[in-house]
Structure formats: C-alpha cells, structure tokens
Amino acid sequence: MILKIIFRNLVYKPLGTILSIVLLMFGVGIISMLLILYQQAEDKFNNDLKNIDLVVGAKGSPLQLVLSAVYHIDAPTGNILRSDADKIIHDPLIEQVIPLAYGDSYKSFPIIGTDSDYLNMYEAVFKEGNVFTKELEAVIGANVALSSGLKKGDLFLGTHGMGAKGHVHKEFQYKAVGILMPSNTVLDNLVMTNIETVWKIHQHQDKDDGDKEKQTNKLRADTAKPENELTALLIKFRSPMGLLTLPRIINETTNMQAASPVLEINRLFDLMGMGITTIEAVAFAIILISGLSVFISLYGRLQDRKYELALARSMGSTRLRLFGMVLAEGLLLSFSGFLAGIALGRAGLILLDTYAVGKYHIKFSRWGLSRDEGWLFLVTIGIGIAAALIPAIKAFQLNISKTLAND
C-alpha cells in the first residue's frame, strides 16, 4: 500500500516528476558515458603499450610518433634510414627491437611491414593460417578480416598511402596467409607483412610513378624512396636504465627522435582529463539542478498534500512514517533518474560503438556497473535524500490540528 501511495503520488502530478527524472537522467547519463569512455580508452591505450619502452622514429612531434607507431591513429613523422637504426639497436641495454615500415593500406586499414616479434609481443593467436614467411604474404587482423571478408588464401591489392583514393599497386598482389583472432589490441586493425615486401613494392613504385609524377610531386621525395628505410622502431629494454640513457643519446646525437610512449600517453590523458573534468562538472551541475527540482517538486506537492498528510496522521499514521514516505518519494525519484541515466549512457555507447567501429576502428563494450558508477549511484541517491529531507521534516512537524481545522 505504501508503495502504491508513493507511486500514485509521483504519477498523479507527472510534470514535476518527469522534470526531475529527465534532469537526473541527463546528468547521470553524461557522466556514466564519460566514465566508461575514459576508462576504456585508458585501458585500451595501456593494453597496446605493453612491452614498448621506447619508440624511435623520424624527428617531429613525440606524441605524433607514439600515436602513429604504437596506436596507428596518426600519420607517421617520416622515415628513418636503416643504417641509422642499425647504429643504435646493438646497445646492450636493449632486449628487443621491432622494426616497423609503413607504406600502403588496405581499405583504409594500414599495411605494416614488420617481423613476427611484433605479433608475439601482442600474443597474437591465429584463427587460421600462420605468420608470413615470404614477401607479399600477409597476416590479417580480426577487424580487418571482419570488415573486408578476407579469408586465408585470398589475394588483395594495397593502396599507396592511407587515403582511400590513393594509387593502387596493381602489379603486386598480397596473399592472406593468416587471420588473427580478436585481441582487443592494435593488431585487430592492421594488415601485417614483412619489411621486405614494403621495400619491394615501393622500390618498384619509384620507377612506376617516377615518370608521371616527377615534376608534380616533389614533396613525395622523402617517402617515395623507401628503400632501406624504416618508419619506426619499438624498443624494449633489459632494465629501466635504458630509458634513462638511450633517449638522450638518440635525440642529441642522431637525426632520429626517441619518445617514451608512457610519458606521451600520460601527457595526452592529462590534456583529455581537463576536458573531461569540465564536462563532468557540467554534468554534476545538471545533477545538482535536478536535486533542486526534486526538492521543489516534493516541497510544492507537500503544500498541496498537507491535508492528505494530516489525514494520514489522523488515521493512525505516526510522524515517522510520513517522514519516511516523503523521503521514499525523493529516493524513488533519484533512483529512477539514476536508472534512466545509466540506460541513456549505455544507449549512447551503443550508438557511438556502431559509429566508432566504422570510423575509428574502436570498439566499446562493458555492460555491468563500474566502480565509478557505484560512486555516481551513491552521489545521486545522496542528492535525492538531501532534496527530500526538508520536505520530509516538514511532514514530520506538521501540525495536524491546525491543518485539519483550516479547511
């Protein structure tokens, strides 16, 4: 019965109730979505970072180097000479060096020239086939396979550069020799082949478009001569000592640059964090306003319902019970607002998910409540209780004789 009374009261004058719930819904929805996005982005970035202590590439922005060489979400800073690279990779502090050479793309997924260590580093598991052994053999990441439908044994052509309308290397057909299982790492969105393949295709391309484009595209000069060039090196050290000495040596004595991915990514997240803090503050303001609206709607209703409450008292209800009833209304409002908000946040994620997979090759998932959302829940309920407290105290203190006499 008490639930019925509370529920009926809430739906009897629905405007205030709806306003409160909608405000709460947006506040909670925005925050929950942000929390999840931020968490997942951080997880994903850190996940892709494992075993990479240092990235070495052409001079330029260190952040760009990290974003391009580790996450493949930015253009490379340029290429480095293999001979330069050879000078540093024999340092005794280095445990492992993985070379990367960029060149082509397949349906806007990058084709990376590398070696099998790269796959091992991310603990790649083959769905079918195995790793490349010869030139023009390729291993296909899970998302690439999913979106292109490539299967083991299929032949395909690469496009020069990252654009969808670049030059297609018609003379060279890649052969898919292995398809990877989804790993939730960058491998999902890559086509991998050996370094020699990248060199071979671009050596040829020099001749190929040399005649046609010699005068028109001088800017291409540095990328159009990729023979014996690499794009980046991913380095793992034997001891943290390496991180102290080697970056300085590289940055100061060679024309390459070394960047620590952890440092750069932390910097990036600090920057993002500022934006996120701002949005979170706005969302919290929305939640506070919704708390105010819960207060106003409960308080306003209390004025209308003074007689009802007095009536309840005259029929035997104790003060405490009325206090609880008003408080429960506030609780129910904030609880429904929270649920609606979480639902909205998840709906937003689903939308973003479909959008992001197509556009950014990013996949979001996670359905349970995160720990931060647990806090959000407590805050929301707390605001609901705080908003209901004054009306509840008013109900507690109601002078029923005066109320009943003043009809």
């Binding site: 319902r305 007689y307 005259s314 035997g316």
Partner: protein, 211 residues
C-alpha cells in the same frame, strides 16, 4: 457501557482564552450530540477527543485508557485503531481511487487490508458503484459517504463527526443522521456528532451545549 468519557477538560491557546468543556459520557447505545455556535470551540473539542490536540487540563478516556497518558507515537496508533473521524469537508488522497481511500484507514491503523469488508461497507452506504473512481469525480454527498465508510472500516470504538449535516437540505440531513446512527451501531462505535445544526438534536436524546 460508556466508551468515551470527558472530565473537566479545558484547553488554552498560548495560556490565554481558556476554553472549559462540560463533562460527558457516550456509549454505543446512546449517541451524543455536542451543540455549539461557531467559535465555541467545537472543532477544538473534537480534536481533543480524537487525540489530535492534548487537553490543557482534565482528561479524556476511551475504553478506560487516558489519552493524556499516551506518548505522541502511541496516541497516533491508538487513534488509528480506536477513533474514526468524519470531517466537515471530506478530504482524500486525490491520487488514489475511492476504494483505496477507504482502505487507507485500515492501512494507516496497521490492520491487515480487507477489500471485501470495504466493499461490504460501501454497499451499506450505497457507494459501491463508485469504488473504482477517483475521489475528485464524485459528488460532495458521495464524498461524505466515502469518508464515513473510511472512518468505519477499522471498526473504531468511537466515531467522531464534525458538522456532517451543515450544508445539506432537510431530506439529506435526515438520511445522513439515520445513516450515521445505523452504521455506527452496526459496527459498534460510540457516535458523537459535533454540530451547530439545530435539526440534528431532535433525533438524539443525549445532547450537550457548549457556551
């Protein structure tokens, strides 16, 4: 057997203007009419009898239990179980149906809900067809019957009514008086009518006047 007794009861707002009330007793067999003009403290007395206000002096006892001896919480519960009140103007929880409003008295007094019994009483009061409506949708006369049904459902020891006939024509006045007498007797409640309506007293042998 006397159910409700009032002895030397007085009441004062802010230590000024003391109202003192005559002593009286009331039983199921002998309903009581308390007559008084406006401003004579009728509603105040009704609230004292109902335990909504505390008397400044003297005492009210119901079934030999002194209201002044009860704590506020106990008083609320005691009122719920033992006292039914019909107000001058009927008031309801507007969001609930007529049936639920009748059941409220059982709910708030802590008794198990008995919708069948509520329907029985509604049938006695001829409002059975209104049970699913909202209280705003029915006439004032009907609202009064609903509040009588609500007051009687927990089978209170005392039924207090405040000006039940003041706005009614003679015919309706008569039928409400009969209804109250009949139904309170059937349920076993001692009936007290507080009113200034001269038409009421001739139907009762037991009348006191407030000055």
């Amino acid at each position: 057997m006397n159910i409700i007794e009032s002895l030397n009861v007085s009441f004062s707002y802010n230590d000024a203007a003391v109202l003192s009330y005559p002593d009286f007793k009331c039983s199921v067999e002998a309903p009581l009419v308390i007559m008084g003009k406006s401003g004579s403290g009728k509603t105040t007395l009704l609230h004292i009898l109902a335990g909504i206000l505390r008397a400044s002096g003297g005492e009210v006892s119901i079934n030999s239990i002194k209201l002044n001896a009860l704590s506020p919480g106990q008083l609320d519960q005691f009122r719920g179980r033992n006292i039914g009140i019909v107000y001058q103007r009927a008031h309801f929880m507007a969001s609930l149906s007529v049936l639920d409003n009748i059941l409220l008295s059982q709910y708030f007094s802590g008794q198990p809900l008995k919708p069948t019994k509520a329907r029985d009483i509604a049938r006695q009061l001829n409002i059975e067809q209104l049970l699913d409506k909202k209280t705003m949708q029915i006439s004032q006369g009907e609202q009064q019957r609903v509040s009588i049904a609500r007051a009687l459902l927990p089978e209170p020891k005392v039924l207090l009514t405040d000006e039940p006939t003041s706005s009614l024509d003679d015919d309706s006045c008569l039928s409400v008086v009969h209804l109250l007498k009949e139904q309170s007797y059937r349920v076993g409640s001692a009936l007290i009518i507080v009113t200034h309506d001269e038409r009421v007293k001739k139907h009762f042998s037991n009348t006191i006047y407030l000055r």
